[in-house]
Point group: D3
Chain length 139, copies 6
């Protein structure tokens, strides 16, 4: 039984600022620079969700990509697209919205809803040049 | 004397909302949808600046790209990167920050500073799938 | 009044073969090579639709991209995506489905439905390396 | 001795339909949607073949990429490019041509012919947004 | 009779330096910076050749892309790929190899060999962020 | 404590030739083909540096990307950009500059300077179609 990895890419646009509420504005500016601008900035995020599993012998699919697309749409996109990650996203409440933390929370949202196959990786591009990956690994 | 077009691409990240202050919030939402979210959203903008002219026989350059890069940096990037287009950008004051209007204002900022060659086009990608171009044409 | 060009990109997947029914199979093979394979082949087409016009002073839009997206969806995508261009697409009936002819027919489908702004260009990528553009020019 | 991974990307265009011959047309349509269109559709596939091994001290190469390119050309591209995956490809006979199954079969074709280095991964993009990876893992 | 533009993209890799032999090394360094390094540097060039014309009613082609590919291969690629633009390319002899001048010379090489259709544009990317276009326009 | 992978992409342009000084020119040509051209050729290299670690609870960062960017700039880019890899780069001295060997040396340069997080991978694209990855694995 062969193990195959399948990936679906989606896009969304959000506003955020990198900001630690336990720090002064000066310290935030010193550590985070323009990323902590109180008037916000934003990104076109590119999200890659990878599952792994055995292709079903009747369909040849590891997971129905239409179903995966709907899951990502309802659990993630509908909550973050054209939204402010600091103010409006329930699963980011109290969390500094770095790409690292955002990817971990996207994993935590999707993971309980993936049966039949296994969630393998969340890859999140903040810009064309910076991206993070989270595979559910804990130390 | 051959006419050649040269282009420099740059990236920046900004927050904005599409909002007509003469309208109610309801009308803004009806016309602009999620793009008018009062808590903002944002983009990784990709800007292409194209000049045209005759290559200088001594350098083979239409325009020194290092000089063009610095011009774009000082006149545009330093004012819009990690900023809020509605609140913080002097040359967007009072202007609805659609990609169309933003491209026109970028043209207006750069055009007076390009000598030796001619500004030919401002191409601005708001997302990978939507972009506008302004060539200084008036009707 | 400034003239601005706006573009929307969309994707679709179709099957086709390049085939002139007035020719023998041998002549089709000789002229079109593997592109005339009677068992078909296919592509991920990338379509760029460009309109031009004056940004509306109340919205800052040349044309509402949501509306343009719906127009492309109903007039083009719904008819060609996951379809056979030779057998199933009404507006390609009797036309050799080269990228050139396909772009012209997409123009002809969209053009009568674009009011307020002007259809400026249809750009159609058959592969990453080959594309055509049609601007409604006639000789 | 350092282990390095080297990858070669290639493109090809094929037609296919996702279809389980043990099912009725209705069930195929219900499960696979437009992907089971009896008149076919197609894709520009992007294939990434990754090998791993120790760089040869005399050449600095893990594997000669010219040789790898020829291997992929003769074993894969010549059989699938501008072909119908359901009807014309010997190594896909009797196999539902999902991206998952297709990647496994490409692995099976290449693997016996790679000596000196080790086949590590087959990554296959069906569209820009959907791709699979197979690393020869069995469960 | 509809006028259509068709484009073929190709890649090649070359070494060069930007250097005016009438100047001292100091002046070259001052004007061209690292681009004038006497030990050379190089690029993966991306070349887009665009022709325009009327699709032939018998083939639906403006120009056979196989034929265009061969023309670009024999007239350009075979002379510049894995070569030094300053030392080894006959049609660049005595010409400062800026992207501007290189594009003009590629036009001059191809133009006399394109019959049936018309050469419309040479677009040449030196890097992902810098490119030039030449359309045969003279002032 | 979640383990996250973060990546920064950078570009640079260099000249090189693939050449084994222990071999005759004929043997170099036979084995390496045009890649051994004595007059050099060059590439736009794309480098991806990936670190892994636990996001710092105070910043949400695995590693400050500004700091990583500066490290890559001072240790790699300043030494290889617009340079000749065979003649001018100290850390490539005596090493055949294949992409494999180049990636290993970039790892060796960066690895001692990454504290707080762990260097995980060096991915190096020589062209859009060929790339290598080194993860510090030894056999």
């Amino acid at each position: 039984m062969m193990k195959v990895y399948i990936t679906r890419k989606v896009h969304f646009n959000s506003a955020h600022r990198i900001y630690n509420p336990n720090w002064t504005d000066e310290k935030n500016l010193e550590v985070f620079g323009g990323c902590s601008n109180p008037n916000w900035h934003g990104h076109n995020y590119l999200l890659e969700v990878t599952l792994c599993g055995i292709p079903n012998p009747e369909t040849g699919y590891v997971y129905d990509l239409k179903k995966l697309k709907e899951l990502i749409e309802s659990l993630i996109i509908s909550k973050v697209d054209h939204k402010n990650l600091n103010l409006e996203v329930d699963f980011m409440k109290g969390i500094i919205p770095t790409t690292e933390n955002f990817a971990i929370q996207i994993w935590n949202q999707l993971q309980p809803h993936i049966q039949e196959a296994q969630l393998y990786s969340i890859k999140l591009y903040e810009t064309e040049r910076n991206f993070v990956e989270y595979k559910g690994e804990k130390l």
